[in-house]
């Protein structure tokens, strides 16, 4: 059996649409050539064993049209925008920057550019994670837009930058492919909140690749909230390099989409740095969330912590694949990984594959992966105090998930996170 699956139509279709894409013709052509060589990862590809992409090989998801209904766009914007945070907001609609709803960063030392407005940056961002996978090439061939955020050394960005990606109901069988590139200079500090939201019924394929570089002593907080429509395919890749004494905090929430895939690929490029990844994935019938993390401890004296919590209702599916590699000279590495999934129904499936590869001595590494059900003793205790079954389960599930955002520094972001999670739980049929 072939490891990768062909899309027979994609090349011809690409020829037809490429003129409408913003620039980068050579790059796109090369990327498409590479993609057609390899194809869509099939079920035998180890990294994709929990998410079957076979159906993607049968259809070509070509770039979506730019516009949508104003009322719909406005509604998604209002839902995703955290109004209590007075900082800049950057909005992409169907994969294209939207100037009307955006208010770009203006602070000194904060250099923001929209990729389609700046071919030089666009070109460079596509080379950042050159050739890492066939889906990466497909993104490169069909990408429509994205952003680049460059924070000058020692700048402490005052307010979190919000980035909102909206998919309208006009995206049926189309793709939205974007890029993000973030760099924090030496000692800089910034927070970014990225929200993905889209039409409830449309079948669209959202795919975003981001690169993040933290220079010496920088500190980044990066939150991602996924609230896509229930028929969406949602994929993000975030590649992060963390230099000495720098800190990367990532928090991730997966609520929507039929199929979600979250790749968090991290490397230490200096000593005494730390990476914290935390996330929650909540799924119900017809939903599948796939979390895929890598932490490459290539340098000594670094610390990484991963904390993921999943909640699955009947028919929900999840996978957590977390790999930590401690290189031979990465002494005094401290790596901790925890993934727990709570099944609200026997008809839910959680997969966990933690991997710890340690080639160094004198390290402290741990991992724990559990799949369990709501504790009957806790449930009875709450019910004996008057909470009905749904309320009691809801409280326990909220508590279970709360670990993920309890130590979020930004209280407004934590609150938004909590609201989203609680909303999911209250949604009809959740419990």
């Amino acid at each position: 059996m072939k490891l990768y699956l062909d899309n027979p139509q994609i090349e011809t279709d690409f020829e037809a649409v490429k003129a409408s894409l913003p620039g980068l013709a050579d790059l796109r052509r090369q990327a498409m050539a590479r993609f057609t060589q390899s194809g869509i990862p099939g079920p035998k590809v180890e990294e994709w064993k929990y998410t079957n992409l076979g159906f993607l090989a049968r259809e070509n998801y070509l770039p979506a049209g730019k516009s949508g209904r104003q009322a719909e766009i406005r509604q998604f914007f209002d839902q995703a925008h955290i109004k209590d945070i007075p900082g800049p907001v950057v909005v992409f609609i169907n994969g294209y920057f939207n100037a009307d709803l955006s208010s770009l960063p203006e602070e000194d030392g904060v250099d923001f550019s929209v990729l389609s407005h700046n071919p030089g940056n666009f070109h460079q961002s596509l080379q950042a994670s050159e050739g890492s996978s066939s889906l990466n090439d497909l993104n490169r061939a069909l990408v429509t837009d994205g952003y680049r955020l460059d924070i000058a050394p020692d700048v402490d960005v005052e307010h979190a930058v919000q980035i909102i990606h909206i998919a309208t109901s006009g995206t049926e069988m189309a793709s939205l492919r974007t890029r993000g590139q973030v760099k924090l200079g030496r000692g800089a500090k910034a927070a970014i909140i990225e929200t993905f939201i889209g039409a409830e019924e449309a079948r669209y394929w959202f795919h975003m690749i981001s690169d993040m570089v933290l220079e010496s002593g920088a500190c980044a907080s990066f939150g991602q909230f996924q609230l896509q429509g229930r028929n969406a395919i949602h994929m993000t890749e975030l590649h992060t390099e963390v230099s000495d004494h720098a800190t990367f905090n990532h928090v991730n929430l997966q609520l929507g989409a039929e199929i979600s895939r979250t790749e968090l690929i991290n490397s230490f490029t200096g000593e005494y740095a730390s990476i914290n990844l935390s996330g929650a994935y909540l799924g119900r019938a017809r939903q599948s969330h796939d979390i895929f993390t890598r932490i490459n401890h290539d340098r000594p004296n670094c610390k990484s912590r991963q904390l993921f919590r999943g909640v699955l209702d009947k028919g929900g599916k999840s996978a957590f694949q977390g790999k930590v590699v401690v290189a031979r000279d990465a002494r005094k590495t401290n790596a901790d990984q925890s993934d727990k999934t709570l099944l609200l129904d026997r008809g839910a499936v959680a997969n966990a594959k933690p991997e710890l590869l340690i080639y160094a001595d004198d390290v402290k590494c741990s991992h724990g992966a559990t799949v369990g059900e709501v504790d009957p003793d806790q449930l009875f205790y709450l019910r004996s105090r008057g909470l009905d079954e749904d309320a009691a389960k809801g409280l326990l599930v909220e508590a279970f998930v709360s670990e993920v955002f309890d130590d979020l520094e930004n209280e407004r972001v934590a609150e938004k996170f909590r609201q989203y999670a609680a909303g999911w739980l209250r949604k009809e049929g959740a419990l």
Binding site: P376, R383, S384
Partner: protein
């Protein structure tokens, strides 16, 4: 208030209660004593409707209504409170949030509105103070990291806030130091009035010095085998179950 007749109950396929009869009238305090494994906690769970405790015969009526038809939360709404022998830890849920959700759930059951945040705060602070509980503990997750005695005191704070008609207290006195025992006893006595009743399960007659019961029962091998007044507890203390010809749990 509570009328239990010929109650038979099984746990994990094993019969634990074997024809138990007990009637508690309004305003009465009953104490149940009995050997380990006799079925005392089982009785408390059956009264409160815990899953896995299957009633195979008999009836339990509460204020004229069939309790066995009700879910645990409905029983709580009707005014039954269980003080757990082993209070459960609930990480991630603060005591405050837990109590407010519980109180408002019961109020909804009774057709009342939510208590306002201000009134609730006042109520909880006052009850915590009466029971000598550090208000800081109210912010902590339910029972997590509490000492054995602190957990029991927390049960009493919950009872005081929820203000039940019938409190079933399973070994609330176990694990308490002497001062704490007095405070808890005061808490129980405060609940006492003409239309409230209390069922205390205990191994020690010491509690009964502070909360004087109207009746003392001995539960052995799934049945009430002896009923008397508080002097029965004194006799038991002196002679033990064997001395009164009551077998330990032969199971």
């Amino acid at each position: 208030m509570l009328k239990i007749e010929n109650l038979h109950a099984t746990v994990g396929g094993k019969e634990i209660l074997k024809g138990l009869n007990l009637t508690i009238n309004d305003g009465e305090i009953h104490a149940i004593m009995g050997p380990n494994g006799a079925g005392k906690s089982t009785l408390s769970y059956v009264i409160c409707g815990r899953e896995g405790y299957e009633v195979t015969a008999g009836s339990v009526f509460f204020n004229g209504r069939d309790l066995l038809d009700m879910s645990p939360d409905e029983r709580a709404g009707e005014g039954i409170f269980l003080g757990f022998q082993y209070p459960v830890e609930i990480p991630g849920v603060s005591n405050m949030n837990f109590l407010r959700t519980a109180l408002n759930s019961q109020r909804h059951y009774r057709g009342q509105n939510d208590m306002t945040a201000v009134d609730f705060l006042k109520l909880v602070r006052a009850k915590a103070k009466e029971l000598d509980m550090d208000p800081e503990m109210l912010k902590r997750p339910v029972n997590v990291g509490f000492s054995g005695g602190e957990k029991k005191r927390n049960e009493m704070v919950q009872m005081a806030v929820l203000d039940p008609c019938l409190a079933v207290l399973d070994e609330t006195d176990s694990g308490l130091d002497i001062d704490a025992l007095k405070i808890v006893a005061k808490g129980i006595n405060r609940l006492r009035n003409a239309d409230k009743s209390i069922l205390m399960i205990t191994h020690y007659q010491r509690l009964l010095d502070y909360v004087v019961p109207d009746f003392v029962h001995v539960l052995a091998d799934g049945k009430i085998v002896k009923t008397g007044d508080r002097t029965l507890a004194l006799q038991l203390e002196e002679k033990g179950y064997a001395g009164l010809d009551i077998a330990g749990n032969a199971a």
